[in-house]
Symmetry: C2
Subunit: 754 residues, 2 copies
């Protein structure tokens, strides 16, 4: 089921072959981004074969109509999607009049490489037009230094014959979204300025009071390092700058295309032309290589805190670096109005919006590999969207705050009732992220102020959402979808009940230290606290004493409980072969559900509980969510099932590089990319951080000679090296007491501990 089109290399995603049948996959895997914007690995010169054109701008989205066909009361009015943005990649090239096009032309010595050190995409090939041969080499990156800047360089070197080369650099707003429902165009041209080489466009009007976005794109060309006079044209939503040159064999020319992209999120539409001009002037004070060096330096400082080295398994090595690089290209906390979209800037599906993935899977990794401010920005994002969360709860007739399943602005914008209305466990993950941040960093300033507003809002939601079953004499939560989305509208999902109760418990525990002004403003009464305590005390948890397991939800055990291994291979993945009702009544689990709870609240369960539940549920799990393998890898590691842990690690680390789920063509699984890091650090190295103490319990996978990772923890930077021995080094910061394999270890800088 795996498909690998790139070579194994520790720092490169590289191929020496073009696969026209896998162009979309190649484009996904060579996507680059800088947190502000991103793009798929489309070709500058254009490509007439099947591919998916994609440029995406952080926070630029459109509320697409959901109200088609059947409709249920309270549904969101729109589904938000990050739309394909005007494209600035284009550099059309003609050689002796023939348009360069790898879908139709003759070429050799092709190579494409994404350098993960710095998110630089390089591509080269020798193109033949009759007896003339020209080597074309492209480099491009989106600057980490000047976020609005994209830099593209193309070098044309004539190897034989004489070449008249025409370049046509374009800014093109005539783009479409493949996932639009009725082939709508989302962009309308506002203005084109041939002289300034600007185009400005606005997202089309919508009836939902969602602001429209105006973007301005500006380009300027340099030939052999010097600004060059170009022949400029415009058409509706399109600007073209042309320059031509004639070269003999052995001669070469370097064309640089500098781009500035502004959006009305940051710069008012009428100010955009002048701001773009100023930024372009600033950008062009240095050369492509100088700007690349500054950009790379920023990457280097990030890698210094986050790199993972694996010896003895190059595929595993490449996988983890690819994941870290793509995560950082998606989000590094610079704009706290943004979040980590499930496909980042690499595709249309999931529309670039925010899911619970962030809190459940991204936060625990980011805490350790980025400065605390980066994770805190993710928490502040939710606090800033609290009004939307109150709105969502109200839409369902409930009190408190319900954070959305999918959103750009805090307001729920997904339109399947079984998700929108019922997958409410997300509302516990948002609270759990506050716990994680506080427990890991020791910084209580969020939880005591803004975070407390979030916790109280969420607690009030849960307190209203439970009902009391007179018959059973306890509180229940009916009608939910748990993390296992292969069951819908179930009653008493153990995970949801457990986490709901945990939220109330955590909120009550934090209340005494909270900012009194927050408590006063929100009028938390003794009666309310007592009610929360009553829910905690009398919450219903489905369990099976005979099997010694927590039961996923009511009546789960009445199913026909065949293991996943009984599913014929030609019916996998089941979500591409079975109709929905078949999936729902099957016992098969998409991703960790009970085990997600055991992962989150790890210190509350005995080893036997963990083992029994793991042994019961993992065999029923089809891991068809990209979020599944990592959690299972961590628990497998904890339970000493090392081979299983490594197998699951491999699946999560190379999910996209090996296209395991056969859907990477649509874009990368950004949010689940943290899974490989979590599997190594929390799994193989057994890192835990609850109870104010960092702990490790490492093992070395058989195939590896050693692995090494960095951790930022409470002002320290640690290096953890696991080989035949474990070596933990304090690289920066004050001395620290930790546990390794159950033994206390005192770390001091430059000190060594086995």
């Amino acid at each position: 089921m795996m498909k690998r089109i790139f070579e194994i290399d520790p720092w490169l995603v590289q191929s020496h072959e073009l696969h026209p049948q896998e162009m979309r996959l190649q484009e996904s895997l060579t996507a680059i981004g800088n947190g502000y914007m991103g793009m798929r690995g489309n070709f500058e010169e254009g490509y007439s074969g099947d591919h998916l054109q994609g440029t995406y701008l952080g926070g630029v989205w459109f509320p697409d109509k959901t109200r088609v066909g059947w409709w249920k009361n309270g549904y969101p009015q729109y589904f938000g999607k990050a739309i394909n943005a005007p494209s600035f990649i284009g550099i059309g090239i003609r050689i002796n009049g023939e348009k360069v096009d790898l879908a139709t032309g003759k070429f050799r010595d092709f190579r494409i490489a994404l350098d993960m050190h710095q998110g630089l995409l390089t591509r080269t090939f020798i193109y033949e037009v009759e007896s003339t041969t020209v080597r074309l080499t492209f480099r491009r990156f989106l600057s980490n230094e000047i976020k609005e800047a994209g830099l593209i360089e193309v070098v044309a070197q004539v190897l034989s014959g004489q070449a008249s080369i025409d370049f046509a650099a374009t800014l093109d707003g005539n783009v479409s979204n493949e996932d639009s429902n009725y082939d709508e165009r989302f962009w309308q041209p506002v203005e084109e300025d041939a002289q300034a080489q600007n185009i400005q466009l606005i997202t089309k009007a919508n009836p939902y009071q969602v602001p429209r976005f105006t973007v301005l794109l500006k380009q300027a060309l340099r030939l052999n390092g010097k600004p060059v006079q170009t022949t400029n044209e415009t058409a509706s939503g399109l600007a073209t700058a042309r320059v031509s040159t004639t070269l003999n064999a052995g001669q070469s020319v370097t064309l640089e295309k500098d781009v500035i992209v502004l959006t009305s999120r940051d710069v008012a539409p009428d100010k955009q032309p002048q701001t773009a001009t100023a930024l372009m002037t600033q950008l062009q004070t240095e050369s492509f290589d100088q700007r690349l060096a500054r950009h790379t330096a920023i990457w280097a400082s990030r890698w210094a805190q986050s790199d993972v080295v694996i010896d003895g398994d190059d595929a595993a090595q490449q996988g983890i670096r690819f994941n870290i690089a793509q995560l950082f290209m998606t989000y590094y906390g610079e704009d706290k109005r943004l979040n980590v979209g499930p496909k980042g800037f690499t595709g249309e599906k999931y529309g670039g919006a925010t899911y619970w993935d962030t809190e459940a899977y991204v936060v625990p990794m980011y805490l350790a590999v980025t400065p605390p401010s980066v994770t805190r920005a993710l928490l502040e994002y939710r606090h800033d969207q609290l009004p939307g969360a109150y709105h969502n709860a109200q839409q369902q007739g409930l009190k408190g705050a319900l954070f959305p399943m999918v959103t750009f602005n805090g307001i729920e914008c997904h339109n399947e009732w079984e998700i929108t209305f019922e997958e409410i466990h997300r509302n516990a993950a948002v609270a759990f992220a506050i716990y994680q941040y506080t427990a890991y960093t020791g910084d209580e300033s969020y939880v005591n102020h803004d975070g407390m507003e979030v916790l109280i809002g969420i607690s009030r939601f849960w307190a209203d959402r439970v009902h009391f079953s007179k018959r059973k004499g306890c509180y229940m939560i009916h009608g939910v979808t748990g993390p296992n989305e292969y069951e819908n509208n179930v009653n008493n999902n153990w995970y949801t009940n457990t986490m709901a109760s945990w939220v109330l418990e955590y909120t009550l525990a934090r209340l005494p230290k909270a900012d009194p002004a927050v408590l006063a403003a929100l009028s938390v009464t003794e009666a309310e606290k007592a009610h929360w305590q009553d829910i905690i005390d009398r919450m219903y948890y489905p369990v099976d004493k005979k099997l010694g397991i927590f039961v996923q939800n009511d009546t789960f055990l009445d199913k026909d409980l065949q293991p996943a291994s009984a599913i014929p291979q030609d019916q996998r993945p089941i979500n591409q072969h079975w109709s929905w009702d078949h999936i729902l009544r099957s016992p098969y689990i998409k991703q960790a559900d009970v085990l997600q709870g055991i992962y989150f609240l790890n210190d509350r369960f005995t080893r036997e509980q963990k083992e029994r539940n793991y042994d019961f549920y993992e065999p029923l799990t089809v891991h068809e969510s990209s979020l599944s393998a990592s959690i299972h890898a961590i628990l497998a590691a904890e339970l000493g099932k090392q081979e299983k842990a490594v197998e699951l690690y491999r699946r999560t680390a190379r999910l996209d590089l090996d296209n395991y789920n056969n859907d990477t063509a649509d874009g990368l699984h950004i949010t689940s990319m943290t899974g490989s890091w979590l599997a190594i650090v929390q799994g193989f190295a057994g890192m835990r951080y609850d109870h104010d103490r960092l702990r490790f319990k490492p093992f070395l996978p058989k195939q590896w000679t050693h692995y090494n990772f960095k951790l930022t923890y409470r002002g320290r930077l640690l290096a953890v090296d696991v080989g035949q021995k474990t070596l933990i080094t304090l690289l920066e910061g004050e001395p620290l007491d930790i546990d390794v394999a159950g033994q206390p270890v005192h770390l001091v800088k430059e000190g060594q501990h086995a």
Copy 2:
């Protein structure tokens, strides 16, 4: 919550007032049809205010795209909808140059009346243009004699002044559907013939291999009974025939517009012009009044077998006649490719397709009030669609035949998974209709041949759809939506489990008498029969012994069981006020669920069982389906709860006339109109027909002095009159032994029995 805009009258739906705010409601209530086509009560001269234009042709539909937004494997590709057809109603009128328009003009003495004797719509008013006053009187009907013919007459009588009157009769294909998702037009013009006054249109292309429909409309005018030379014009999809006249006070003119409507369902597109000409010639051999007389005679013969007379309650009288008339205008079995759409020819919602309503609610009434061939046509419709039913099951990975929730051609075309994939109890209702037909008529020719093919297909579906729960040691049905659509994806819905088992039982019972050729062709083996018997023997039925009830589905009793009376009035109906998750986890029931099973299999339960279940479930029922009240009325009557029965009867009988559900503006609730008849006959009169014997157990509602209905039964026509005494008369046919109030009665023609 009720809104009544028409006067109470035993045979008329009449108003002397125009309600511009309620135009859509008025249009629904004055819809007419003849089984072949139908139309809302739109105005011939046009109306510029808010209204819903609607003309519908039986079996003419379009497969509208469902694949928008999120999508689940196995979903139907399209949602079928009966589209608004080209309109033939138009007769524009100008008086002294001013366009007659009741939305803007000056008028008085307005009256509109639907005569239920014969489905004739009459409308009259005096229109004033300065000092000129003209009485305009319209009559129209869709012929029961020549199905393709619509006849419209307008009489203009000048009361004062001199009137120059211009008529512009139109055929207009430029129509739209309000419920289209993206404002698509479904019709494309093919040809217009000004001379012949024809327009021909075709439904737009679709990618689903669904045939396109071509329709031809033809008009011809008669002035004062004579064919008249008109000035003819055409435009794209539009034909206009003009005629003018000038009248003095006291003079009048009669304009007849004769219309022929053909579709490619019956006449190939290239043959349509000549066929239409021939039909028009035939039509015009007689006058409007002569054609009306023939049409009325057909109605009279239908009423003779079906009329219900209620003395002492004029509103109830009007309600039942309105329902019978609208049902007969929708379906009288002439075209077995058609079925009874939930809104008939009166609106867009529900798209004119076939639902399980037909088998569950229409069949039991039609059996008794129409010739057996009419009900048999409904059964043959399902048999003819058996290939589609096999396809539907296969789509879900299941064996056997699954009849669709919504269809035109047998293939499921609804797109909510909780309905399409899960509301599978419909597949038992189709089998139950075979039982009903056979038990009522005594005709075994269907069940032994075509019907057996249907029963085996359905049985095989159920046998594959159940699963065996090892834990509980019995067969279960997980993941269904029962008749109560206010719960989705529940496990072991008692009704579904009961009816599934009943189907297997009935099929096994019928097998010995079935056509051996059918059994051989379908290879029913002993092993298969044994497996069916095993399912019957070990089916799981949720029950609660303490409460003495059948439990609607697993965990239903864990809900917060508050009675429906606890819902604040301003939150009713809950489906317009509560979000879907709130409804789902509430204990509130949309329509009979357990009680539907007790209604169907009435002879299998004790009075105590019926009583306990009724007393438990009815208080939880919000009756927000138009199909709910009748079943409850019947059971209430059986249990001696006469007041409740009458209250529920009233709700079902006048659901549309009093606009109880506030949605009649969209169209009438055609399929649930049988409910009032069922409530009277099976409820008040206690009619049962199982075990090959007709039985009655009548009571007389307090407010009524007596009621009277007719029944066709096994070649007999009976009149049942219930007053202080019950009088049952055999009007036609051989002597018959029946039971009345538990006593055997021998009926002979002309005989009288108390």
